[in-house]
């Protein structure tokens, strides 16, 4: 009897020793937090977190959650990361088990200090790459803009060269008394130059076109008048989306409904411009409008910028757009 008890004690001691030598933390506790089994590693963690070995598993878990760090992106299983006073990082998990029809909690702790450090470095490196990437995109925009400015400068330099040439020819003409025909050529050369100079003077910077003026010009060319009601977007991107919509509506209204007037109504509503484009077209239209390449392309463009598009048929076709206001990029 004594030998049997001795062996039983010896087995328990061996199991205890095995659990204590495990580098991971192991804790089994009743649902009310009473610890049933806690190994050395988990007790050392508890000492750092709570100042004592595990007395109550629930309180221990509360402390773990209080010290929680930002989780790894790939730890979707729901583990909690915590950094201890000694600087080591542990990953904690909790799961419920049923042993002999009694429900208990098993807590596991695995040391992930190295992994966490690499993950942190990777995150910082990704953020740095992202910043570099954004800078590269900005740089590209600047290069394109500089190119356009350079082109305007080249045009001015060209005029400068032409003036030099015209001055030399004029001097020669005055000195040698050219024939009237050659004088006429010289005169028209100066006229052209003056016209070019007038243009160059206004194109000091890369000119931002006026979409309204040109749209009204082409609308008039196809026999249609465009009227605006409400204030047009000040943001360049929103303005260009609006005009893409007007162009599409204009083409369809003239081609399919025989319209000669287009009305564009613009309202500001929160972070959007609400636009309604209708016409005085009188030709009958079907109750639904099939979206071909034009309207389909416009929808794609509007939606890719976070806007919305709707085609309403009420007697005539009305194109409704919701255009995000976005940041002001005027000019």
């Amino acid at each position: 009897m004594k030998t049997k008890r001795y062996h039983h004690y010896k087995d328990a001691a061996l199991i205890r020793h095995a659990i204590d030598s495990c580098p991971d933390g192991i804790l089994v506790a009743a649902m009310d937090g009473r610890p049933i089994l806690a190994n050395q590693a988990i007790n050392e963690i508890s000492l750092q977190l709570t100042g004592s070995t595990v007395m109550n598993a629930q309180e221990f878990w509360n402390q773990v959650e209080e010290h929680a760090l930002q989780p790894f992106a790939d730890t979707a299983e729901g583990g909690v990361l915590a950094c201890l006073v000694d600087g080591r990082v542990w990953q904690f998990t909790r799961r419920s088990l049923t042993i002999h029809q009694t429900e208990v909690y098993q807590y596991d702790a695995a040391e992930v200090t190295e992994l966490y450090r690499y993950q942190k470095e990777l995150r910082a490196s990704n953020a740095r790459t992202q910043r570099l990437h954004e800078r590269q995109r900005d740089l590209m925009k600047e290069i394109v803009q500089n190119n356009l400015e350079k082109e305007a400068l080249q045009a001015k330099m060209h005029i400068h060269d032409e003036i030099g040439q015209a001055l030399i020819l004029t001097r020669n003409a005055l000195e040698t008394k050219e024939s009237p025909m050659e004088m006429d050529n010289l005169y028209s050369m100066w006229e052209n130059l003056i016209r070019d100079m007038e243009n160059a003077a206004v194109s000091k910077n890369v000119k931002v076109s006026d979409p309204e003026e040109e749209l009204k010009q082409v609308a008039a060319m196809i026999g249609c008048r465009v009227r605006f009601s409400g204030r047009q977007p000040r943001e360049r991107k929103a303005l260009l989306l609006l005009y893409a919509g007007i162009r599409e509506a204009l083409t369809n209204a003239v081609r399919h409904a025989g319209a000669d007037e287009l009305l564009v109504e613009i309202k500001e509503s929160g972070s959007f411009y609400e636009v309604s484009i209708g016409s005085n077209g009188t030709r009958p239209v079907e109750s639904t409008v099939r979206e071909g390449r034009g309207l389909g392309g416009l929808r794609k463009r509007i939606e890719s910028e976070g806007g919305e598009m709707n085609v309403r048929v009420s007697g005539s076709v009305v194109l409704e757009l919701k255009i995000p206001r976005g940041e002001n990029t005027e000019g």
Binding site: N147, A152, S203, V218
Partner: protein, 207 residues
């Protein structure tokens, strides 16, 4: 009389073209526009016979896209694409759009009126190649088509993984092409390369 529509966003160039055509007896400039998208509308009526279409127009509208629409809707209208950019894909895209002529504003041996005359007579000699530019140590025609595809993707600000997905190749293949281009040009980084190709307008991905 040939009715001409001029689409050109540079006011100096636009008025210069208008003057050259007005001086020629058989051309009448019906309208001048800055934005290529408006040209599609202008061609709906007005009996336009010839469109002189710049490729990079106001508000970033592509003349190539507009030309394709005009040719699809009005096959009889002749279209001459005009550019001063050595962008390598422009010639091919213009051909695919069904354009009738391609006039390099600065490099062409033909004057604008001569180019218009040849196009109207259906005798325009299509340029065989884009005028080459130097990209540091390499001539632009030394790049393979695939290398140019990769450069174009880089200019869009895409990462190697994104380029690989877009061109249906592996990331290693993308790196291989970039390494070759860097070797040819003598640049040390992709950003130096992209800055130079955009500066020289070898690649303008928006159009």
């Amino acid at each position: 009389m040939v009715n001409v529509l001029i689409v050109e966003d540079s006011r100096v160039s636009r008025e210069s073209f208008e003057r050259q055509l007005s001086a020629a007896e058989n051309y009448f400039v019906a309208a001048t526009l800055e934005n290529a998208a408006n040209a599609v509308i202008a061609c709906m009526r007005n009996n336009i016979d010839l469109v002189l279409m710049d490729i990079c127009t106001a508000d970033d509208e592509s003349g190539l896209v507009a030309a394709a629409k005009i040719k699809a809707q009005h096959p009889k209208i002749r279209v001459i694409m005009m550019t001063s950019m050595p962008e390598v894909s422009f010639l091919r895209k213009a051909k695919e759009s069904g354009c009738d002529g391609f006039w390099y504003k600065e490099e062409s041996q033909l004057s604008l009126v001569e180019a218009c005359d040849l196009v109207m007579a259906g005798e325009f000699p299509w340029p065989k190649e884009t005028p080459p530019v130097m990209i540091r140590l390499a001539r632009s025609d030394e790049f393979t088509d695939r290398e140019l595809d990769v450069i174009r993707e880089l200019a869009l600000g895409r990462r190697y993984e994104e380029i690989a997905a877009s061109l249906y190749v592996s990331t290693n293949t993308v790196k291989y092409h970039i390494k070759n281009v860097l070797q040819k040009t003598g640049f040390h980084s992709a950003i130096q390369l992209v800055a130079e190709v955009v500066e020289k307008r070898l690649v303008l991905p928006k159009y």
